[in-house]
Amino acid sequence: MPEELVTQFKDNYVETEAGKIAIVTMDNGEDYRKPNTFGLGGIASLNACLDRIAETQDVKAMILTGKPFIFAVGADLNQVPEIKTKEEAISVARAGHAAFKRIMDLPYPTVAAINGAVMGGGLEIALACDYRTISTGVTAVAFPECFIGLIPGWGGTTLLPKLIGPEKALQIIITNALNNNRMISGREAYEMGIADRLYEPVEFLDDTIKFTVGVLNGTEKVERPQPDFSNVDALCDAAQAAVEAKVHGMAPAPYRAIEIIRKAGEISVDEGFALEDEALGDLIISDQCRASVYSFDLVQRRAKRPVGVPEGAPLAVNKVGVLGAGLMGSQLATLFLRRMTVPIVIKDIKQEFVDKGLNYIQTEMTKQAEKGRIEKTRLPWMLSLVKGTLDYQDLADCDFIIEAVLEDMSLKKKVFAELEEYVSETAILATNTSSLSITQMASDLKRPQRVVGFHFFNPVAVLPLLEIIRGEKTDDQTLVTAFDVARKIGKRAVLVKDAPAFVVNRLLIRMMVVQWDLVDEGNTFKEVDEALAKLGAPMPPFVLLALVGPAIGMHACETLVEAFPDRYHISENLRKLVEMGKGSVYGPDGNVDEEYAKVLKVADPPKKSTPQEMIDRTCEAVTDEIARMLEEGVVAGPEEIDLCMILGAGYPFWNGGITKALDYLGYSEKVLGRKFHPEK
């Protein structure tokens, strides 16, 4: 078991005009980069600290606070995978409840001084105190539990609705958690009634001591609105419907949390705690929780230190070139400008294309400025960094040039060959291809080692994934610089071998092939979409197709058909859709497009599949494809596959990206005879 970094509870005392106040500090001895968490060692330290305070004479109040910048961020997740049985899980839940209950039962006022990040168990220990002060410097207040397959089970699910009412509690525990763990600020927490006082960071603890003295003297009066449980059922029903639309019954945690919140108004604290024990007992050992903890670790740690990146210092990138001023090129130019704030040259073959691109950049940047993400006064200068051109000569001093011309091998080879005549020896040439071979694209260049693939995901500004593709000749220096650029533009990069369609597209298209088969066999688009929504992707397959664009989807598929004709093929129905120039199989009313419906050819009589059969066929296909990719060495391991699916396709944490779900749903054993993640 990974050793627990124990958060120690340290007691000090101050004499005030209102008597002796105990100041308890939670501190794991590390700086803010390793926040305070609670494991069984931390709980033991809390109990020992409460024993010491009990032995101290004349204590009139207790203040509980964190170390600099951190209050406490909850349970020690490293311990979760080690808990194997429901009994063990329940005992962990009870240990937390028992210790926090001791704080609740203290005979004098207790004040949580929330000086920094507060999440999960950290917020629960704060709720166990009588009062809470919070600093305006706090940026992270959250109950992330439902996001990682748990509920706030050390009192939060019971105490929060009792404090601020079910509506706001649902917002924090359910809505925010499932919205990619959205966090709120200290000020928002105060406004929602989670904290009783809001103080500036500069004298936060001094102010909290004064507040505590005021509580003791009776000069500070805390008034809280009575929580309103009158419409709790309607609120919980609405929350449940929203959860259903998001997780389709596949992640149990939010449902369990809503169950308890629904009852919170009428049950006692002890009854609530007992329900939490029971829920945690089931959830801690659930597959979804383990997969979520795994995902959390991938995104928080592994994504920050990409596997396979060579050692060495990156080259400086002081000027960036973009070839192609279409939508992709303009988006990329905007991204580089915003994040790197270096001169950008954007080139196309016609002035009107260039002008359109420049116009897009200006519009986007102005929007950002209006939203306050860029200083308005800085905007004209930033825009002055962008230059449009028709002439390669203007790219001569760029250190990094990314092409975003049409997805056509001969065209891409041509522009790179032309470009190479102008740029310096060390300039890096990146290609924003979604399916073409980097190796082939570089093959005729004088310096093929400088070419690297940069596969972004649409919308570029939103999705954090960047697949960085190493061609056969791409050298270490190019790769190190590419990863440095990725970091500077705020992307999470995964190193990918030069293989057809790379990672995300190869998997999504393998699934799409099955989905078109299902349609061709006579299942309706609706039936397929509804069945596959359960897989947890942000949108069902034929809605995704509309977002990507059928033509682009088909084009990417063509590459794969060429490479792997045994597994990939293009449905005639897809071909027709593209030929008709339709953007979606669905019309604006959500039904199948009328014109398209007329030409759609499906099996007669239809061979219908059950939803489970549709899921099975899709999952089996994708299991097979992942195994092949790992065999080919497309990425370092299943973890990289999962990172790509989480960051690039929005796959949920409770699936562990995808391979964890394929393991716990039994597909990997069924198809491969083994799991992607064998039990240790």
Partner: protein
Amino acid sequence: MARTLNEVYLVDAVRTAFGRAGQKGVFWSTRADDMVVKVIRALLERNPQLPPERVDDNVWAATTQMGDQGLTMGRTTVMLAGLPAEVPGVSIDRMCAGGMTAACFAASEIAVGAADICIAGGVEHMGHHPMGQGADPNPRFMAEKLVDPSALNMGATAENLHDMFPEITKEEADQYAMYCQQKAKKAWDEGKIQKMIVPMTVWTENGWRVADRDEQPRPETTMEGLRDLRTPFRVQGRVTAGNSSGLNDGAAGVLLASAQACEELGLKPKMRLVNYAFAGVRPEVMGLGPIPATKKVLERAKMKFDDLDFVELNEAFAVQAIAFMNEFGMKKMDDPRLNPYGGAIAFGHPLASSGCRLMAHLALLFEENPGAKYGLTTMCVGLGQGGAVIWENATG
């Protein structure tokens, strides 16, 4: 355009607790600039009539202006304390008399009409910044014998003073130190010192603690205990940790205002600045500094020493305080005019902050002794200087 000079008043003076320098000191994990911020905010909180945007300058001193005492601390602490961006700030250095000089500089701004209201003070985190940290003394000092080699070691200069005044014995110095500790204890027990200290919650290895009292006072000090202490600066020397001021962390500051500003805003002045003077002495006997500085300021103010009801002398070393008493004919060892609440031997001497601590003491003495008219704050300065400021009681 013709102008008149303004009278300058001290409205308030406050300080942090003084900690022991070093890892065991309460302020070891606290930044010096955060201590300054605490003092600035305490001055504003204690004087709510003063709108923060009316502060015309924020003048801060430190001997070592680097690290957490660097980057023009007078300006950075404007921002850190939450004062409006429009308030300017400046950093200043006259070693031990930094805070005193900051107050005099600010007072001069007010006197000539360049400012109405100023915050001034000094800080020294000697745990983070041992005296002379990062300094690169010019080799000419030694090559040309411009100063005695002992001049850069303050304890050694105190031994030099004993050489110069052989009648001041170690026993006298110890006795002075013991009285100082006793006076400090009495003042604490009577709740006087607490009035000048703003409690500050600080981060330590053992969690957050409230620094609300000085760490150095040793009320239990006895002559026997003092007699056996080591003399670290010389074999068979006379200067010990017991009869010196020690190495400390602390910040102290004052709020100064013109007569007109006091009236306009309803600020209650505690004392009026009469005059100030700084004077140089040979660096190897820097402890003499207060003597010429005091003579100079008395002369400028056209006053006699006996006009002074109180003298707040920063006793860096007992020998230096006794030399001062001898010079001006004060009653040894417990002249009631001198440091009635105790001095630096008890509280400590975080270099640049001490000048403003003296002002806090004098202002409180004036408040508690309405019959007192004039008082002096004076101190010696490393490398051979003295500073002296005469104040008039304005509490009446």
